[in-house]
Amino acid sequence: MMDARDLLRSRPEGLYCPRGDFFIDPVRPVERALVTHGHADHARAGHGAVLATRETLDIMALRYGAGFAGATQEARPGEEIALAGVRVRFHPAGHVLGSAQIAVEAEGMRIVVSGDYKRSRDPTCAAFEPIPCDIFITEATFALPVFVHPPADREIGHLLASVRRFPERTHIVGAYALGKAQRLIALLREAGYEEPVYIHGALARLCAYYESAGVALGPLLPATVEGSDGAPPPGSIVVAPPSALGERWSRRFADPLLGFASGWMRIRQRARQRGVELPLIVSDHADWGELTATIGETGAAEVWITHGREEALARWCELAGIAARPLHLAGYEDEAE
């Protein structure tokens, strides 16, 4: 059997396939990049060629402009693509719209790069499919046994209960602009919330894109209108990128109550440090149980672990008798959520 390092190895630019001469989610501009999903630390502008799902290519174009790469190629889910003697296939990762795992295969060896993923239900994107493989490269954002994400509808229930209890306060919920914000809104609609949801300007194009891709988000209104001091009525739900929460932008709202939708909200001190009154444990990453169950389902004999708490997941693999090693890839945001 071939040496796994001839199929994938880490380089300063990112994960590299020597045999196929391409990178996966490189953090610096390269000739040929395969991109798992549209979050900025995985999808960067300036590559010679990008191979990704239709949605990821669209999202990159929305964020970076149409000329974000020299050339682009769409990877359809499950379709086999040959790249210089290496076969690659994209499979849904359940992280955000268009997110994919990438299976890389040659000479009977298959490595699956998970990208970021989750296993819990998400009405805004296709569900993760476990792909049998020899080596599974997993993310480890929430790889500690303390991270157990409760069902998202329970968290949405907390938000709606708070709105009922504090009808005079504007509920501003921090949620990442790509994926989390749309999932949150879609979950609110599933829970029967029919009022307009007010969105920060940074979310507008991505929400419109999700709608065009068939994800219904219901009535959305801009949270703030340029040249106007008008604010949404008290008791409204406003969704904004987390960076806007503590900023001057948030001052115009009636007695704002800050919420934050993130897996980190499982830890009280995290919520307290950020001044969050309403923590919502809603994550687009796998929790401890999902990570460990997924490793088992892939049947991988070996696990490589990237960005997050590698050491804890490596310890779990050791106890489970699975070979594991941390893959020290630079450039991914530890706080990614």
Partner: protein, 532 residues
């Protein structure tokens, strides 16, 4: 248990006092007896389960979770109770969570040997929030930012009564306080305080503005020095002796020297001070050595003896004196104190004055550094609970001020969460040709909303470094913002680099006009330190 756990979760994340109050009132209104009563007991420190210790929890959890994974988790989370509550494996038994009262009963009856099994059984039955609450409950110290006083305030709001009524009753009550709740809900008569030596609500004073004084008749008031110790009430009755803080907490255990000398029958109001009344009065820093201690060593008792400087007499020989006018109480007090051990009790002297100007002169030049102003008491006023407007006033010494330079700003909470509203300021130290700023305090009020906006903008425009919610701002001799800080006094401190700690600092003025290089030096503050 889940309601109690949810309350703790929300209290942790609700910074505003009014928000906390609302959560508590809501809880008392919607949770039935006896659970709300046990919740109240947990918040006011009325429960103690000595059989459960943190080391035991650690041993328990590592029987269920790999010790290495637990260690990684604890490193990450930082709080033992929270880590255990989060990593404890769910057993599926959460459907039948025990009520708070049941948890209390099980913990209270656990012996040291069966406590681990009792605790493990509870953790198996609870959700993560419930586990956190159970561990905090069992190990004591909820740390959710609710004082016993705030909990009593919430009861007062809930029942529509004055908080002093609750404080007066408090020490005669036992968890789960069903009689108290029945009264507050109008279903039963007010519980009678059957306890010996009960607390009586303290009479407090309003600050007086100089403009107000001209409206007042000087001859109707007596004046006394305002001593800078802690206000206490000493009650001895039927062989029981208790020393209370001004909010009714029993602090007898920390002051056995004073309690041992309470050879009287009655209730006295006064100031607890360090020293010997005949020899001299110690500073507030000396007094701090004796505060917040559960027990006190013999060396401490010898080095920092306490005594009580008496202000008022509430009960004498079984007779309630509170309805008598101040002048009559004062005469009784004078006789009463004369019969007490002179090393532990003395009479707070009156300050004679003919007109406000004369008193002002004395106020500005007090004969002792532990005096922080004068008290005015209407001669014909009874002793009333709370802070009635009119009979008592405090006229404080003018605060000290210092010109300091803004060094760091931190984002506030609640309505201020988008503002940099908490300011760390420093004064110059080191050689005059190369001065460096040393932080001397932190203040987060004293400015108007408009000034807050100006400072916030200044902070954002002059940030040199960011540390999470904190920003370091430009602070050099030629560039920076000078804050005039008012404060009530200085203590020596080993916890601060500057070696001093300010009491009650607040922003008095923004000195946009003043170059930072002309702000004060540390030597100016050190000169104000008490000797020692």
């Amino acid at each position: 248990m889940e309601r109690f756990a949810e309350l703790l979760d929300r209290l942790v994340l609700t910074p505003a006092r009014n928000g906390k109050l609302r959560l508590l009132v809501d809880h008392f209104s919607t949770v039935p007896d006896p659970d709300r009563g046990f919740c109240l007991a947990a918040l006011t420190g009325g429960l103690d389960f000595p059989a459960v210790k943190p080391a035991m929890l650690r041993a328990l959890v590592t029987q269920r979770v790999d010790p290495v994974l637990f260690a990684y988790s604890y490193d990450y989370v930082g709080d033992l109770a929270e880590t255990v509550s989060l990593v404890w494996p769910a057993s599926g038994g959460e459907a039948r969570a025990p009520a708070l009262s049941e948890v209390v009963a099980r913990l209270a009856t656990a012996s040291r040997s069966d406590a681990p099994a009792v605790m493990a059984g509870l953790l198996d039955q609870l959700s993560p929030s419930g586990r956190f609450a159970a561990i905090k409950l069992a190990t004591g110290g909820l740390r959710v930012g609710v004082s016993a006083r705030l909990a009593k305030q919430a009861l007062a709001v809930f029942g529509g009564v004055a908080v002093q009524e609750i404080e007066e009753l408090w020490h005669g009550l036992e968890p789960p306080y069903t009689g108290l709740f029945a009264w507050l809900e109008g279903r039963a008569a007010k519980p009678e305080n059957a306890m010996a030596a009960p607390f009586r609500p303290v009479m407090l004073a309003h600050p007086v503005a100089e403009a107000e004084l001209s409206q007042l008749d000087a001859s109707a008031y007596a004046a006394e020095w305002k001593w800078d110790g802690i206000r206490v009430q000493a009650v001895a009755q039927g062989g029981i002796r208790r020393l209370y803080s001004r909010s009714g907490d029993d602090i007898s255990a920390a002051f056995p020297d004073l309690v041992g000398a309470m050879e009287f029958a009655g209730a006295l109001d006064g100031e607890l001070l360090v020293g010997d009344p005949k020899e001299g009065t110690g500073t507030f820093s000396d007094l701090q050595q004796r505060l917040n201690r559960k027990t006190v060593s013999r060396a401490m008792l010898a080095r920092y003896p306490v005594f009580m400087r008496c202000y008022d007499l509430l009960v004498a020989e079984g007779r309630d004196a509170r309805t008598l006018p101040y002048a009559e109480r004062r005469a009784l007090l004078s006789d009463f104190v004369a019969a007490l051990p002179a090393a532990r009790f003395d009479l707070s002297p009156e300050v004679p004055f003919a007109c406000w100007r004369e008193l002002d002169e004395k106020r500005r030049n007090p004969p002792h550094p532990v005096i922080e102003g004068v008290m005015l008491k209407r001669r014909d006023s009874p002793y009333l609970a709370g802070r009635p407007k009119g009979p008592w006033f405090k006229w404080k010494r003018d605060p000290y001020t210092v010109d300091a330079v803004l060094m760091y700003a931190q984002r506030g909470h609640g309505k201020r969460s988008s503002f940099y509203s908490d300011y760390t300021f420093g004064v110059w130290s080191g050689p005059a040709e190369a001065p460096v700023l040393v932080p001397v305090g932190k203040a987060y009020f004293g400015f108007t909303d408009a000034e807050l906006k100006e400072i916030d903008k200044y902070v954002r425009d002059n940030t040199v470094e960011r540390f999470g919610p904190v920003r370091a701002v430009r602070a050099e001799p030629g560039r920076g913002l000078v804050l005039e800080v008012a404060f009530e006094g200085l203590n020596r401190s080993t916890r601060h680099k500057s070696g001093l700690a300010m009491r009650f600092p607040r922003i008095a003025r923004l000195r946009w006009d003043k170059p930072p290089g002309e702000a004060d030096r540390i030597e100016a503050l050190r000169a104000l330190l008490p000797p020692g």
